[in-house]
């Protein structure tokens, strides 16, 4: 192609732009009019433009067959840190392949939409400038993450997005719950991150490199032992699961909805949470070598998808329903990766990003208008907010998997691949989950936009959002409507891709994925979705009498779902009782054993031996020396005893 202005070798510019914006806005935001929000938006627009140019360049290379489709190219690298004569080399390297090329447009485009939307949504908020700065920081880290050519750089960016997420979830830190949620998210994902770091170190230990492609080659050549590689890849997956809120780390994502809604749309729906999917997709050739680890990915995905969908059925907070839905859809993606269906997973990631951010932004529009997020307080809003209602419904249909809408195509792909490559039970579980998805989506739409207003005051107060907010909604709605068609060969070719996404993203030894619409299969999937929607309508249309009846039919079950299978309680219990407990044990040891047993106990002991009885205040120095003496004695006795 003709435009060589910016090519694949220049992708490092992409994160640099938002990072510069971050520095500028966070330090000098007070001096700039409007706190610098327009700088953030313009910077992001530039990024989108550059991504477009990179995409064009990529297509050119793709057509010229400069490289095999999946192999991509290490497009840019320099030794960032090289110490100890090659003992420890950290390269700054960028790597662009088809997987990257799916991520880049998603991240940049959704970010742009969210930033534009935020101008309306965050208007008049305290720390307005800081919001845009933090969001830019997030985008910089996320872009760095997806272009990373080596694991260490990836880890760095990985922590960066985690930090940004922490800052943004805790944006309304005056609210205690927001501060708690921020901490919960940070610590939960950090636990996963330690797994990731251990995984990275384990991989490095054998190969001596952090470079992803070299590690993949090493794995394919069988440099690793099977068990060793399994363990390493499971650690790696722990990191992915933490970031992508997969069971058992899923607890943080619903709470993360304490952040501003556009943040939820960007970070907790479209970009950061798919980082785990991206990581597993990136390392999929390695997972292919160790099927046990891949199976774990599959099962975790299945469990999460089903579990989150059931929890979504009963959640009453509009954003939490969407959060559970996100967790569930990420489960779909992991399940697809678990059977090696890279194409389907990335395709679903692609479509999901558009319709889920649309849904979040739509819910943000509702919240903005009514200042309510409980579905019990909403209802009938379609008359007051027609654009929001329409776009939200489009997003919902996409999520539910109704044909023509984007979600249908990608979900259909996943189900199809699961049926072909996975165990039959997996297919059934996901099909049930798909039906559940349709149910709770329908419920959400009905309760929010249809029926009678339940809170008259909020209803009266409601109004359509300003164009700066509805604009992104409309754009995303259009995309949610059409983006699925990219799978068609004709559509793909007209866009420059030979066979749509199917011939772009695939594993070399699986061969390109040729998309064929299997009418029978699609009919089943459609039927599932339609039945789900029908059930939703049946239960929640109008005054939702049946739904209430269903609740009272099995209150325990309802309670189980409302309390999210009591997992949060379990974790809190574990944290309280194990971690703090262990700390308490040490403190207790200090207080009781050293002081009271050391004093009281040995006082009794001493009394027992017939010495004078002495009860004394606690004396610390002798106890400290006792500790030291026991330490020496232990070392010496063990040393000499074992000789």
């Amino acid at each position: 192609m003709g435009i060589d202005l910016v090519g694949m070798e220049d992708v490092w510019i992409l994160p640099a732009i938002p990072f510069a914006v971050f520095i500028l806005v966070s330090f000098f935001g007070r001096l700039i009019p409007r706190n610098g929000d327009f700088i953030a938006v313009l910077g992001m627009a530039l990024v989108v433009l550059l991504v477009g140019l990179v995409l064009v360049d990529f297509q050119g290379a793709f057509h010229d067959e400069v490289f095999a489709p999946i192999a991509g190219a290490n497009t840019y690298s320099f030794d960032w840190i090289d110490i100890g004569d090659g003992f420890f080399v950290i390269e700054f390297s960028t790597y662009v392949d088809a997987v990257t090329m799916v991520m880049l447009p998603v991240v940049s485009f959704v970010s742009l939409m969210v930033l534009v939307y935020s101008i309306g949504y965050m208007k008049g908020e305290a720390r307005y400038g800081w919001y845009f700065a933090a969001l830019s920081f997030f985008v910089a880290a996320m872009l760095l993450l997806v272009i990373s050519g080596n694991l260490l750089q990836l880890y760095l960016a990985w922590e960066g997005v985690g930090l940004a997420s922490y800052l943004l979830i805790g944006f309304y830190w005056e609210r205690q719950s927001a501060a708690e949620a921020a901490k919960k998210a940070f610590i939960t994902t950090r636990i996963g991150d330690v797994g990731l770091l251990i995984g990275i170190i384990l991989l490095w230990r054998v190969t001596g490199t952090f470079d992803i492609q070299e590690i993949i080659h090493a794995a394919e050549e069988g440099v690793f032992g099977q068990t060793y590689l399994t363990v390493a890849m499971l650690f790696l997956f722990a990191g992915a699961a933490g970031k992508s809120a997969q069971f058992p780390f899923h607890v943080w994502l619903p709470d993360a909805m304490e952040g501003p809604t556009p943040v939820s749309a960007l970070i907790h729906a479209a970009t950061m949470v798919v980082a785990g999917v991206y990581l597993v997709a990136r390392m999929l050739p390695v997972y292919d070598e160790v099927l046990i680890a891949r199976d774990v990915v599959l099962y975790v995905g299945l469990i999460t998808a089903l579990m989150a969908a059931t929890m979504g059925l009963v959640a009453t907070d509009i954003k939490r329903v969407l959060a559970f839905s996100t967790v569930s859809q990420l489960g779909f993606m992991f399940a697809a990766l678990g059977v090696g269906a890279l194409t389907a997973a990335m395709f679903h990631l692609f479509t999901h990003a558009f319709f889920k951010s649309l849904l979040f932004l739509g819910s943000g529009s509702v919240i903005h208008a009514t200042e309510q997020q409980e579905v019990g307080e909403l209802g009938g809003l379609r008359k007051k907010m027609p654009i929001t209602a329409l776009t939200f419904t489009i997003g919902s249909l996409a999520l539910a998997g109704i044909p023509v809408f984007a979600g249908f195509w990608s979900k259909d792909e996943i189900l199809h691949d699961l049926q072909h490559y996975g165990p039959f039970a997996a297919y059934v579980i996901l099909a049930v989950t798909a039906a559940l998805t349709a149910i709770y989506t329908t419920r959400l739409v009905l309760l929010t936009f249809f029926g009678k207003p339940k809170n008259e005051q909020a209803y009266e107060h409601a109004h359509e959002s300003p164009p700066i907010m509805t604009g992104p909604l409309v754009i995303l709605a259009v995309l949610a409507l059409v983006v699925g068609f990219i799978t068609y060969q004709g559509v793909g070719e007209s866009l420059g891709f030979v066979g749509g996404i199917g011939e772009l993203v695939y594993l070399p030894h699986h061969g390109p994925h040729v998309f064929k619409l299997d009418i029978a299969f699609a009919a089943v999937a459609t039927a599932t979705a339609v039945v789900g929607v029908a059930i939703g309508i049946m239960y929640w249309w109008g005054d939702a009498r049946r739904a209430i009846a269903a609740q009272s039919w099995a209150p325990e079950l309802h309670q189980l779902l409302v309390r999210r299978y009591y997992l949060d309680e379990l974790y809190q219990g574990v944290i309280n009782h194990v971690v703090l407990g262990a700390a308490a044990v040490v403190a207790w040891f200090d207080k009781r054993v050293v002081n009271e047993t050391g004093v009281d106990g040995s006082t009794q002991f001493v009394g027992f031996l017939g010495y004078r009885f002495k009860f004394l205040q606690t004396g610390r120095i002798p106890h400290y020396v006792l500790g030291m003496a026991l330490g020496v004695a232990a070392l010496a006795v063990v040393a000499i005893g074992t000789t």
């Binding site: 100890g84 960066g160 700390a583 403190a587 610390r620 030291m628 070392l635």
Partner: protein, 488 residues
């Protein structure tokens, strides 16, 4: 000149230039303080003289880069020594600049304070340079004695005297243990010279194995005390809490680094042939230290105690490098040590500036600092995040390289333990950060500023934290060159 045994004695006093300069400066400081009225100089003249002396010492120590000489077979001046000389001098300079206000207001006996600070630095420098057990022991005592007194110098604070008493009594026991161990080492190795002990030990000591083991256990206990390794750590939180904050900072930086310098010299030198005997001892201590230090830190409510336990936890990480000692782990340890010191000083300089303003040191007192002084909050946050090992800050990179080298030394299980322990650490660092960012300030919510020197010290440390985090290569190169003489 030759000694009694006919060995060549090199009595080039220039080699000890930095130490001599500092001792002279210490004397000058005492003198200037005593005759301040007669000389008509103000209080700030004393830190100024100290810094001048330190700068002179710094220049003098830079003369010996890439030299490898010894003074009278007692002190080695090689890159290792130079590295630590520079490090210790830099720490002292930062401590003085960052805390002279605090010292003027809250420390009794200004002259003694500064002169002891300088003398303690001399002790630390000699610890790094010693090539003879006797010199090393006396250097330890010079540093420790100064610190015993420095800890007791907080004005009108009874905790200070108590902390000092604990430190001095426990320190006495610890040095008795260390000495007893050294006496066995002398008996087994037949000399107090590092090189000759190494030779004797590698010749085989099968008939003297038990005394050697005993000596090792005692030496590890004595040094474990100085390094505050569990179970010899119990003085640490108390001394940290009772001491004036600059001394707490100094304890956590110089005292720790000097101990590790000594550990490196000993365990990579005379004790290396006996590695099978002590490897497990140190690894047990390392695990205990990192686990207990990080767990107990969770329960703290005083920032100084919190940092004390966090530094105990960090010692656990550093001990791993001693377990798998090699030139790689050695240079990784030096790098981590430098990064850790910069980070820790960043936090402490922040805490000192905060204390100057508020006079409080509980963690809850930090509420709303992000509103009353966002810059200070940023400094402390960067420091704490770096301690917790967040990327792009010093703590992550240096810790990562350290862990990396331990893994390649074959101790993956240690590293896994360390990673788990450091996950716990995030929890308590975050507690402090939350207080600063996620609460409204109590009482006066107006903005306030630091003094110019406060800005200088915190700013320099902040830059250091980010610099090491982003581009550590020059530091590593320095560390690599510093460790080389130990392994040739």
């Amino acid at each position: 000149m030759t000694d009694l045994l006919g060995n060549d004695l090199n009595l080039q006093y220039e080699l000890l230039g930095p130490e001599i300069a500092l001792v002279i400066t210490a004397a000058l400081v005492l003198f200037a303080d005593a005759f301040r009225r007669e000389l008509k100089i103000g209080q700030s003249a004393i830190p100024a003289i100290s810094i001048l002396g330190l700068v002179v010492a710094l220049l003098l120590s830079l003369l010996w880069i890439d030299e490898n000489k010894d003074f009278a077979r007692l002190v080695t001046i090689d890159n290792f020594t130079t590295f630590f000389r520079v490090l210790f001098i830099a720490v002292t300079v930062v401590v003085i600049i960052g805390s002279h206000e605090y010292i003027e207001r809250r420390v009794s006996h200004l002259g003694e304070f500064y002169s002891l600070l300088l003398l303690s630095t001399v002790g630390a420098m000699l610890m790094a340079g010693a090539r003879d057990l006797l010199t090393a022991y006396l250097a330890i005592e010079v540093m420790s004695f100064s610190l015993y007194i420095l800890v007791s110098l907080a004005k009108s604070d009874t905790r200070s005297g108590e902390a000092s008493l604990k430190y001095v009594l426990l320190g006495g026991v610890a040095s008795a243990m260390l000495l007893y161990g050294l006496s066995f080492l002398y008996g087994v190795g037949g000399s107090t010279q590092y090189t000759e002990i190494a030779a004797a030990l590698s010749d085989g000591t099968s008939t003297l194995e038990l005394p050697l083991l005993l000596g090792l256990a005692l030496i590890i206990a004595g040094l474990g005390f100085k390094a505050s390794a569990v179970p010899f750590h119990m003085w640490t939180p108390d001394a940290y809490e009772g001491a004036p904050i600059p001394i707490t900072a100094y304890l956590s930086a110089t005292s720790k680094a000097a101990t590790f310098a000594l550990l490196l010299r000993w365990f990579a030198g005379p004790l290396l042939p006996a590695i099978d005997s002590w490897q497990w001892m140190i690894s047990v201590l390392a695990v205990l230290t990192m686990v207990i230090g990080n767990l107990v830190a969770l329960q703290q409510s005083n920032i100084k105690r919190l940092l004390a336990y966090s530094s105990i936890g960090q010692v656990g990480f550093m001990l791993m490098a001693i377990v798998t000692i090699s030139d790689q782990t050695g240079s990784a340890l030096l790098l981590h040590l430098s990064g850790y010191i910069i980070t820790n000083l960043a936090v402490f300089m922040g805490v000192i500036a905060f204390y100057n303003r508020t006079g409080r040191e509980e963690i809850v007192a930090f509420r709303g600092l992000a509103q009353t002084n966002p810059y200070l909050a940023l400094v402390i946050t960067a420091g704490l995040f770096s301690l917790a090992g967040m990327p792009l800050l010093a703590g992550f990179l240096t810790k990562f390289i350290l862990f990396q080298s331990v893994v390649s030394g074959g101790y993956t299980w240690l590293v896994v333990t360390a990673l788990l322990a450091s996950t716990v650490s995030l929890y308590y660092y975050l507690q402090v950060i939350r207080q600063m960012y996620m609460y409204q300030p109590e009482g006066d919510a107006s903005r306030w500023r630091l003094s110019p020197t406060g800005y200088l010290a915190t700013g320099a440390m902040l830059v250091g934290v980010v610099w090491v985090g982003v581009y550590a290569a020059p530091f590593y190169t320095a560390a690599d060159r510093a460790i080389a003489p130990l392994f040739t």
